[in-house]
């Protein structure tokens, strides 16, 4: 057991935080060090997370901060869900940080790297914490760094969308805080397990109101329809490396927090029909808006809304299968969408335009980048042998296993969304490879560092797609953790 003490999950939060504090100090010595610190910090996180992950599958690790037993102190709950998402965050963050080594070459670079590292630290904190107010604090870290990063390029579109995001995000945070305050006032505790133990029914208005406030607040960050107005602007005007993190990590962490409130704290059982419809509606709105976009980044941003809708739909099926499918879809969306934004980033950089029509013939000019983009689209659409297929297949299976006509019909509508998704993505692929005059163009692919980072994403998409049981071993206990709140309470409070 000695090694478990050495690899305390709190290190996943504290070490990147310390590196972020260290960055300005190192900046006084050398300007070039800053961009390596996110790589170092996230590599550390990835290694530690992978080392801890096998241990938590049997039993979650409860970390008592400062040694105070819950509910009096703050505690981290490194269970299967938390560690799965923390690993995903570290992995995606590391690859995007490698990409950014080359991609970020203007503006206040040192500040970019600090904000980037802190964004991922905040996300890790949210998924690991077992305290609802601590969740709010890390959520704020995540949100505030995203606001600043959206405005990083300093152009008009960036500032405007950052202000929009800031206003809506702050309203969301305030609602979340009011909800937490009301729960604390009634139950006198902030520990999630202790709250879950004391909350008997979520239909009681005194619990229902805080829950609605919290869900609305978190729903803004998760971009659930109709709270998604900020997302297309923010994701499309940020630098591509930031868009990859915002789409791949930030909104999913928002959704995770929502699911945690619904499943673990409030034991909701009677409102899932509402979220089921909301999920379907989000899929349709997202995919149909994406269909009509001519700007590649806006298209990808709307597609993220559609994907979030699909994940919400999967969780709302509220069976073990459904939750497993939702978590799997989270993984496949993160990998796929990050790859798409990263490859689109250099396609935009080389053509100087975000219009899809300007990508004509880019398949010959940047063959590898275009190939990675294609792999990303095929995975997001859900074609075998990519990871998107396995996760969507699991969701369909879960919906059909429910054996009710309504679920089958709703699944049909979701599949219609997938068809729309396929249509617009194939349109882009057609433009990349088959349109434009056949003039011999010079090959000018992305820099090698960026290609390496994209290729790792592509390899992961294919490997997990071919061998889904690699992640199923983690997904099954993770789904049980979310589904079985009594076990969660017992493991924290003893």
């Amino acid at each position: 057991m000695n090694e478990m003490i050495n690899l305390n999950p709190v290190l996943l939060i504290v070490v990147p935080l310390g590196l972020a504090f260290l960055t300005p100090l190192l900046g006084l010595i050398s300007k070039k060090i800053a961009k390596w610190l996110p790589v170092v910090g996230l590599l550390f996180n990835l290694i530690v997370a992978l080392a801890i992950l096998p241990h938590v599958l049997k039993q979650p690790i409860i970390v008592k901060i400062a040694g105070f037993a819950p509910p009096f102190g703050i505690n981290l709950v490194a269970g299967p869900v938390g560690m799965l998402l923390a690993t995903l965050i570290a992995l995606t963050g590391l690859l995007v940080a490698i990409y950014a080594l080359k991609y970020i070459n203007e503006g206040a670079e040192q500040k970019y790297h600090i904000l980037f590292l802190l964004l991922l630290t905040g996300a890790t904190g949210v998924v690991l914490t077992g305290d609802i107010f601590n969740l709010f604090v890390f959520f704020e870290i995540l949100c505030i760094s995203s606001y600043a990063l959206v405005a990083y390029l300093g152009n008009r579109a960036g500032i405007e969308s950052a202000v929009k995001y800031l206003i809506q995000g702050s309203i969301g945070s305030s609602l979340l805080l009011i909800g937490i305050g009301l729960l604390y006032g009634q139950f006198g505790t902030l520990n999630m397990a202790d709250l879950a133990k004391q909350i008997v029914s979520s239909s009681d208005p005194s619990v229902f109101v805080p829950m609605v406030l919290m869900i609305t607040g978190l729903g803004i960050e998760a971009a659930i329809f109709p709270l998604n107005a900020w997302l297309p602007d923010a994701h499309s005007s940020a630098p591509s490396s930031v868009s990859a993190i915002l789409s791949g990590i930030a909104i999913e962490v928002g959704l995770y927090a929502m699911v945690r409130v619904l499943f673990t704290i409030c034991h909701v059982s009677n409102f899932f029909m509402f979220f089921l419809f909301l999920g379907v509606l989000t899929v349709l709105v997202g995919e149909m808006s994406a269909f009509s976009q001519k700007n590649i980044k806006r298209m990808l941003a709307y597609s993220s809304i559609g994907q979030i809708g699909l994940i919400l739909f999967a969780f709302s099926i509220s069976t073990h299968f459904g939750v497993t499918g939702g978590l799997f879809q989270m993984i496949s969306h993160t990998l796929g969408k990050a790859l798409l934004f990263l490859s689109a980033g250099y396609m935009i950089y080389r053509t100087g335009s975000m219009e899809i029509s300007s990508f004509e013939g880019i398949g010959k000019k940047m063959p590898l980048t275009a190939l990675f983009f294609t792999i990303g689209t095929l995975s997001i659409i859900g074609l075998p042998p990519f990871v998107g297929f396995s996760s969507k297949f699991l969701i369909i299976k879960a919906a059909l296993a429910k054996g009710e006509l309504l679920y089958t019909i709703l699944m049909g509508i979701v599949l219609l969304g997938t068809v729309i998704e396929g249509t617009y993505f194939f349109r882009v692929i057609q433009t990349i490879y088959f349109k434009g005059k056949d003039v011999a163009t010079e090959r000018n692919d992305s820099p090698i560092v960026c290609l390496i980072s994209m290729s790792i994403f592509a390899v992961l998409i294919i490997v997990i797609g071919v061998y889904p049981h690699l992640v199923m071993k983690i997904l099954n206990p993770a789904a049980s953790e979310l589904f079985n709140s009594i076990q969660y309470i017992r493991s924290v409070l003893g």
């Binding site: 935080l17 310390g18 400062a66 600090i114 904000l115 606001y147 300093g154 006198g188 505790t189």
Partner: protein, 228 residues
């Protein structure tokens, strides 16, 4: 029409919050966590100020997060303002004699008062955040009164904000490696209650926070003053 819908929505929200508020037990001892802090706080953390025992003792991870939020605000503002072109110098009026003399006179006592507040955070009301804010107010006064000659030392501010954060993190990590092996564990002796050298790591953390908050708020003021 929009106004009416808005008012109806507000009434619904207000009704909901009121229903929820009515469930709250005010003035009773049903809040078990709060009772624990009041009754056991002194013994468990050694701080005379119960608020401090909660902020830097029981909920120290939140405080680390809050420090980070402020750090982010300063960094984010810097990142955004770095891209915007500086405007031409505006017509500025020179500060009056009273203000420019007053600021020279008051600057050191305000700094001293701020330092007093954060050093005594575990004994008297106040702490690192409050002390840091007071220190930053001294810099506001300096910028108003004698902006022409004086500016904050950028290297100094970077060093104090970075070191402040690092001290917090490193103390936490030391707690993880020695004693009971908990992050931010209070590994120092608690000392004699209600004296300056008591409560173990709490005063050290509060001093670090004081430096950090002071440097960050001053930097935010500096950035905004430069831009406007």
């Amino acid at each position: 029409m929009r106004k009416i819908i808005g008012i109806i929505l507000l009434i619904i929200i207000a009704w909901g919050i009121i229903t929820s508020l009515q469930e709250m037990p005010f003035g009773t001892s049903r809040a078990k966590v709060a009772d624990h802090y009041i009754n056991k706080g002194r013994e468990e953390t050694g701080a005379a100020n119960i608020v401090t025992s909660v902020v830097v003792g029981y909920r120290s991870l939140d405080t680390l997060g809050e420090v980070t939020v402020l750090f982010l605000a300063a960094i984010g503002l810097g990142a955004v303002l770095a891209t915007i072109k500086r405007k031409e110098d505006r017509d500025t009026e020179k500060a009056s004699l009273i203000l420019s003399t007053g600021c020279r006179f008051l600057f050191p006592p305000i700094l001293l008062f701020g330092a007093y507040i954060f050093i005594h955070g575990h004994l008297t009301p106040g702490g690192g955040f409050q002390g840091g804010a007071i220190i930053a107010s001294a810099f506001v006064l300096m910028y108003l009164g004698c902006h022409e000659e004086k500016k904050i030392n950028e290297t100094g501010s970077i060093i104090s904000e970075s070191l402040g954060g690092l001290v917090f993190v490193v103390i936490g990590l030391i707690g993880l490696t020695i004693g009971t092996r908990y992050f931010l564990n209070n590994f120092l002796p608690k000392g004699e209650f209600n004296t300056l050298l008591s409560a173990g790591i709490i005063p050290i953390i509060y001093i670090a926070i004081g430096f950090k908050v002071g440097a960050e708020l001053s930097k935010i003021i500096d950035l905004l003053m430069e831009e406007s």
